[in-house]
């Protein structure tokens, strides 16, 4: 049974993220919440949404209960429209065929830059993280949606290391760095939905999740947040959204 009144933070994340997608878009999705959210959007509102995977998959077909655990294995290719080389699928981004890159994030800053390479000084790191994978390419070349957990240590003023560029140092610095296309579009957490100011390119709250206060968001964020002048409160997950989501991930691998 669908219990629309009880849902997890991960479920909220997936559902709110799925609402950001539009029918007809071509979406480069990472595994986990991004893929779950994209598939949810496809089933709910966007039958013409196309999902790409980094391993080289175009127009993936994701079956309920069988979400692939990585984007480089054969399960990702099943009943896809096309598979091609890993560099070639990234070149589709560079050419401009992709509307949205959709990833998770470990650490983000006020300008939407993501770090997945180093904690601490890169020259003598406290922790060597796995690195960019396709993240740098995707975030350099298209509009990004990031779905991630909201913790103060993950939302920092400036990341230790810009692995995947958002708006770099804000203003026109992204464009001036040689990235005239794309940029951070939305950040979705279990607390709020964030956009970026048109001029300063700093993160700002567009909508609070149901039951979340401004203070709660600010308290969990490592830098001063702006709030959009038209700040809204997000519609809670509907029972229909939850029902489809739970069909997609019946074992709660990604929504526990």
């Amino acid at each position: 049974m669908t219990e629309a009144s009880h849902y997890t933070a991960s479920e909220t994340l997936a559902i709110l993220a799925s609402r950001q997608l539009k029918d007809g878009q071509v979406v480069f999705a990472g595994v986990g919440t991004p893929l779950l959210a994209a598939t949810l959007a496809q089933q709910l509102r966007c039958p013409g949404l196309t999902i790409l995977f980094e391993g080289g998959v175009v127009g993936a077909f994701v079956e309920a209960g069988k979400l692939p655990p990585s984007t480089n294995d054969q399960r990702c290719t099943k009943r896809a429209n096309m598979v091609l080389g890993s560099a070639d699928v990234l070149l589709l981004l560079q050419r401009g065929y992709v509307d949205i890159g959709f990833m998770g994030g470990a650490q983000i800053d006020q300008f939407g830059n993501l770090n997945s390479s180093f904690i601490g000084d890169p020259a003598a790191p406290k922790t060597r993280l796995p690195g960019t994978g396709g993240g740098n390419d995707i975030s350099s070349l298209t509009n990004m949606i990031v779905a991630m957990k909201h913790e103060k240590r993950r939302f920092v003023e400036n990341v230790d290391f810009i692995t995947s560029p958002g708006f770099i140092r804000g203003g026109d610095s992204r464009r001036d760095s040689g990235l005239p296309a794309g940029g951070m579009f939305r950040v979705i957490t279990e607390l709020a939905v964030f956009g970026f100011d048109e001029r300063s390119r700093r993160m700002k709250v567009l909508a609070l999740n149901p039951g979340v206060s401004r203070e709660e968001v600010q308290d969990n964020t490592g830098f001063r947040l702006d709030f959009d002048e038209n700040l809204t409160v997000t519609e809670p997950p509907t029972s229909h959204e939850l029902q489809i989501l739970r069909q997609l991930d019946p074992d709660r691998l990604f929504t526990a």
Binding site: D73, Q74, L90, Q94, P122, T132, G133, S140, T163, P165
Partner: protein
């Protein structure tokens, strides 16, 4: 540093001219093929993450106690752990290095990079791809539009940002990567090395063209006649290939498209053991699975019949519908 990385074109050409590129049989054993890999070489590894990893060849290289290898791969998984952990490699070029997305950080990678001075040289995924592609095309660089503005680029003085002479736009030129030897595992090839690859190709075609030597391991060797019936299915031409080794389950415990999926019980146990103790755990793993078995088949027997059969059933299932 750059000088060390980019061979002059005339040298690349001379290396290739000296290779025997004739249509000839080159089937040999793992042991013989491993002779193409010498200490200190640049080794390009095919496949990605847990897919079509040339594990049997890596296994043999580690058994032969190779050292100081500089390895490159688009996405590195437990192959990287084993190369660092065994002492075979001290340098790995890739865009992502963990055991697999299911298990989080690799404690083995962290140990060797954070405390042992081994180098994990990070490029963007496309950056690695464009480096192989430039190498395969016989040009010293390719232009790309990612990495710009990031610290990934700032850590890579080997790449050169330029203003485009046509448009004035900023671009990044990434240098060619021509490994001394490439290790690639395929579903099938003939005795000459004409290879067919099913499913995801990753960067293997560019890698094969870029490398100065290619060792092909294959699930099966088919006749040249079979290759010639569908020449548009050949993905790597024979004259790129220097050794052909038939090794069924040659990517185990990783997957080979259409034949077997990863052997997840083994992988889970491996990750648990090495992440619990990146030194001793790894040493014990290598002893048991790499150094002690007398043959690749003995290694497979240690992984176990149940795992192999289950992985094979899942692997074949991609064609069931």
């Amino acid at each position: 540093m750059l000088e060390a990385q980019l061979e002059p074109y005339t040298q690349l050409r001379a290396d290739l001219a000296a290779r025997d590129r004739s249509l000839r049989e080159k089937v040999m054993s793992l042991e013989e093929a491993a002779g193409f890999v010498q200490d200190g070489m640049k080794v390009g590894i095919g496949g990605s993450t847990m897919s079509r990893t040339p594990m049997a060849m890596i296994w043999e290289i580690i058994r032969q106690r190779r050292q100081d290898l500089s390895c490159s791969r688009c996405i590195v998984s437990t192959d990287g752990d084993l190369l660092f952990g065994s002492g075979a490699a001290n340098h790995i070029i890739t865009s992502w290095f963990a055991q697999g997305i299911l298990w989080g950080l690799s404690k083995v990678m962290r140990h060797h990079v954070e405390t042992q001075g081994k180098r994990y040289e990070e490029w963007s995924h496309m950056g690695v791809g464009m480096r192989y592609r430039a190498g395969g095309m016989g040009v010293p660089f390719l232009p790309m539009r990612a990495m710009l503005g990031s610290d990934v680029m700032r850590q890579r003085p080997e790449a050169k940002p330029i203003d485009c002479p046509f448009t004035g736009e900023k671009l990044l030129l990434v240098p060619a990567l021509n490994p001394d030897v490439a290790l690639i595992h395929v579903q099938r090839c003939d005795a000459y090395g004409n290879a067919q690859i099913d499913g995801l190709q990753f960067m293997d075609i560019d890698l094969a063209l870029a490398a100065n030597r290619v060792i092909l391991t294959t699930e099966r060797i088919v006749s040249n006649d079979q290759i010639r019936r569908r020449p548009d299915h050949t993905k790597i031409p024979f004259f790129c290939v220097d050794a052909v080794v038939e090794v069924p389950y040659g990517a185990a415990p990783h997957e080979c498209f259409g034949i077997y999926e990863p052997m997840m019980k083994h992988m889970d146990a491996y990750v648990k053991q090495v992440n619990a103790d990146p030194v001793k755990g790894m040493q014990q793993y290598l002893e048991k699975y790499f150094y002690e078995p007398k043959s690749w088949n003995e290694y497979l027997a240690l992984i176990g019949m149940n795992e192999l059969l289950e992985a094979s059933q899942l692997g074949r299932s991609i064609y069931n519908d």
